[in-house]
Homo-oligomer: 281 residues x 6
């Protein structure tokens, strides 16, 4: 099912474009302004993301766009993901911005999809470890890749972490959160099975196992089961999870794994834009 | 020598902060607002970048900061790169944004520095393959790492690429650029030695060898030397350069190598923030 | 006569929309994106305002709108004030923002109209007691209701109030204002008939009777008449005027009455949006 | 406990100030720029909200502020809630904006507090029926008044309303929401007890009784109890709740009541600013 | 008397600075960041304007400023209008922006002052013929020069011009304006004495003689006097007025002359910034 | 050849429009909203600039535009440069902003063109002496007039001026610039022939003769020739150049002359907008 996306704000689109073009394209001025056709091709296989965004960018510059794909499509090397028709100079002005959106978003979607494939049904989630100013698109790419974008902002959900506990104490932090936000779910971070049991008894909704090994998590899940606390609590593993160990973490019995690498260190999927037809008459 | 940086614009700083915090920090509300001390530690070795930015962020929230390091410092695992004093809730509200700046910028600076170390004096340069909305900081991180940030925008310098040539023709594109911008340097992209000779004779200032192998570039450099054209032209290699082959490209005789991976696929350097002292009096 | 309104700025429209939607509509994602028809109905009688604004909002999301009404129309419970056709998800994303514009602006227009009806021809005016960030629309609603929006900003007209007089003295304040702004009209606030006579002799253009009872104002108007000063001066009553006493104030002989309640405490007129047709084929 | 608030963004503060002042204060120019003292007094009893905001406003104009109160304080007529020292003209320029913040926010906080007092422990919550562009402050005023601000944006929580059901069907809408957002709580709106039972069995987390009478709600709560579904579901009443009937709704057995009137039709609490000392030397 | 000015908005200040500096000052990077002293000197005589603005700019970059002058001061060639202390690089980064503010604003203030001197007491006013985005400062410079800034925006005052008359007809336009804005003054443009008599009888408040010669205006003023209409109407001359003919227009008997050249074609007053002391230790 | 221009940002366009219109056009409200035709005519001869900008402005307000000219066209008094069709009130609302763009940009383009005509092939360049917030359009007008816009920002090119030399010393400044920006051209300002020889030997790319007389420049050029340094260096004259002495400077042998007057003191070309047809049906 296609995700609902409020279209990119025009003020954002114009800000992004200005960041790349500056005051004017002094190289583009060296070519005549004539109708041309251009194609964006995938230079690598992967999963497509950013297509809606780049359509908005090209359309904002009065260019026509056409595609056989949608966000989320699996693509292989050489696939033409978008054909663009219109002013030569407008295409050149938008080229790099469009490729940057595609490369970064498809990179995140593709890595997410790979993780989802091997996670055995355990939800793959993102974190707030994103690039300042670009979170909205990085989170969307995770969703396109089949993952859960998780908290967009600190307003979205309560997550009590080690620093909250250091300041307020574990019980006090949970109690305060419940009192101030009686209708919000509470998630809390623990790093050992004993604390997991403790917070489960205090009535939190989700436990995040932070920087624990698969073995430690597995043990903690078992302890929760023994204490008959497992069923009414969601469990999340976080910290140090990557393509190499994701299967191990998946087998620990958690409901969700969150991976910072999805947004902070996923490599690009490369695309390139080529002028394929020039209307010289 | 420290780079001049116009301080982060307050409107940008507030926009970044709002992206992460949203309307309010509902987890932070679960802890009392009291004076605390926090430390940001490196979880990995690398080269520090983003320090000036995170100082601005914390200071904007009326927190005091202190550091033994500067941007560009080599850091090892465990180094405390910043100590922060002030309101518990303000520190929690700024934590993730600060770590995102540090992680991404230090990641880029560190990869750049590694490339510089093995480039044998050939300049390492960035590209415009950056994250939309964050280029300014990604380019700065390259400079901190010892690289050349290269064009910030299309207004900065003329670079005639394959698409320009497809539209206007090679000679025409150069001629137009010279006519419209008589005082600007002209760089042009070629993918074979024959074109390199041709454009050198047409008087361009820089030649970019695009997606050519080290052998092909080496051959082209030799041809330029034979034709007595090498000395008055700058040469740049671009396309497919990475840590694995950078030495080979460096030996081809070019003056500069530009690497998209510096900004589009460099992994983070991880940092974490820990509350280390709580003033409960 | 229809009021000229420069269309809502796109940057404002997008800011308002983002305030309500956030990063994405996670409830809207639970329904398919299909063509639907929706109707906005009045849940109460009143006078319509905000119609132009909500048309702009729906059209910005590529929805088609149709209405039998215009701003200022009298509406009764059940009237369909707008029909909207287009994407189900876009309608859901804009619903609340549109209803908030309609409810607040129609509330103000309706209260203004009621005041105008019983004011016996004395002008009903607004004040600057508006909601920060929404004044433009609140003032427009007053105009739609048949009132005078009065000063939009401190730049619009000179109004010397008690605080100015406390700082500069009454005569000095008037003298300064005349000297600096020789072509501007001067309005001054007084709270007794003696001062009214005094300032009238000093040549002000408008006198505002501030927080005086209808009797006191009536007495002051008579004194001005006796002193042959009434004819060349505009008189305004302000402070404590509401639906209950508006007739009394209207009979005092003033030209205008300004009411803070129009914008700061007018109740909403409620509207609701219903999906009336779903195109499932 | 004091709520965490990220300080008002400077760009917002400046935008609000410009909305009221325009290009310059032509009345303020009629008084000398000298040091003065001003006091803001409550003209009515109520609960204070907006104090932090107006401190930010005055401080932004380099004025000194002092208060014996905090947001949430009960105030009576005549209480001096803030004393301001500094430039006469700066105080005059900020006066109206400050009073508008105080009046509106205290109005909402006071009405909320009154509702909380008589709700017998049932949570009082806000809605998204707010003034465009001012929601952040209206929601904060609810929290200060002891209420729950509820969803800030459509991204915060899933709420399936009648329009969603008309488009997707009731079961399908719930199913979709669960599939796309497996970790989010789901709230759904019903208008009869039969549907309440149905959705409870489908596993939603919260049921909102929409526009039902206290009797109907009471009956539905009983039915849920009989079906042994009450304990694991939160119940919310919404629609037509006001000071007059709040006790009846509170007795129906719901956990929460949401009231549009808190933000869309609460009357102001009036405050005024008086210059109390002028330093003429 | 010093004019009240709300301080330059930080978001504007940062926008202006970025327009001049771009992403970074690559020339400034060639000098060490050390404490220096700089002086801004007048290269020509004139009247100073823009001083408050440039103080804000330098202070925003944490520089200390000191001046013996105020806006409106008469200055002669060589006068040091500002001394600045602080970081060498920050001074270089702000230099051009500061000089641009001073040069343009002082140019307008100086031309205005010259006009005021020879106008024999007739008010000298500006127009809306300003540079897009810079009106606020150009209008302020007129005021500093002793002129009347006149309408800032179309919201400020009613001025019925030839185009309004062509669309609505003369009488209808006046009638409509009176009806919609009963409390606003009405100014109307005429180009002959007959129309002047006509509109005076229709009760307008101000007549603007548009593009009429001094003789024609003089004749029209006499006709108004004969018809006993002069005393209650303000008269303004506009169109083609400059330093060469200002005396002739002043003698026609009008109250005010408005000059487009003040803002659209006034030459700069040149200033320069020199580093005068470098702290090398 | 037409210059590439990224279309005016909508957020800028709306900001400019709001600066002129304010909250609403209270004069425009006095005319009916009906279809009209308007023409913009040149009141003086000159070279047209700003046409693309004003088309964007009128089109943003849903007006139709038609022109027989393009930016750069030579125009004579009376030429109709644009015909506009559509809503009477929208035309009135945009009139002044459009004329301000045309007047200022055409003024700059016309003065530039006059300079180009008599410069004998020596490049005419602009400076950064522009109006804050409007540089983009002033620089574009120079290009339209046939000049070189020169540096848009401090990021564009290295220019070492007297202040840099005072801080760092001449040799040190050049050395630092080369080290930090090995691939950038370096321009340096000198005020005598001896320094010109010195910096030429240090390998700078361009020398700017600052505030030197034509004779002094001529002498310096000869000295450079004698030292065999002329051929590989670009030479620029700057300071005090105007229409009266431009020929003398052109004959000194420099490659380029930069003139602050182009942007800081060029007089407007006047245009006016007239309603020519009113559709009263």
């Amino acid at each position: 099912m296609k995700l609902l996306t409020v279209k990119m704000k025009i003020s954002d689109l114009e800000r992004f474009l200005e960041e790349d073009v500056g005051s004017r394209d002094i190289s583009g001025e060296a070519v005549p302004e004539i109708p041309v056709t251009a194609q964006i091709k995938a230079d690598e296989a992967g999963y497509l993301a950013g297509l809606e965004e780049i359509k908005s960018i090209f359309e904002h510059l009065a260019l026509n766009v056409d595609s056989q794909f949608t966000d989320g499509s699996e693509i292989k090397k050489g696939d033409v993901v978008l054909e663009i028709n219109g002013s030569s100079r407008s295409i050149l002005a938008a080229e790099r911005l469009a490729l940057n959106f595609l490369g970064r978003m498809s990179g995140i979607a593709s890595l997410t999809r790979e993780c989802v494939k091997i996670s055995g049904g355990v939800t793959i989630a993102g974190t707030r470890k994103t690039t300042p100013g670009f979170r909205e698109y990085e989170k969307k790419a995770i969703a396109i890749g089949g993952g859960d974008p998780h908290r967009f902002t600190l307003s979205d959900a309560i997550l009590i972490k080690d620093n909250h506990i250091k300041i307020a104490g574990l019980e006090k932090a949970i109690m305060n959160a419940k009192k101030i936000h009686p209708t919000e779910e509470i998630e809390i971070e623990v790093d050992n099975s004993k604390d997991a049991i403790k917070v489960a008894k205090l009535g939190v909704n989700t436990i995040m196992f932070d920087n624990m090994s698969p073995e430690e998590i597995n043990y903690a899940v078992d302890e929760l089961k023994k204490a008959d606390l497992r069923s009414r609590i969601k469990l999340e593993a976080s910290g140090g999870i990557n393509m190499g160990n994701i299967k191990e973490f998946a087998r620990t019995g958690v409901d969700m794994m969150s991976l910072g690498i999805l947004t902070h260190s996923s490599p690009w999927v490369n695309f390139s834009l080529d002028i394929t037809k020039v209307d010289l008459n």
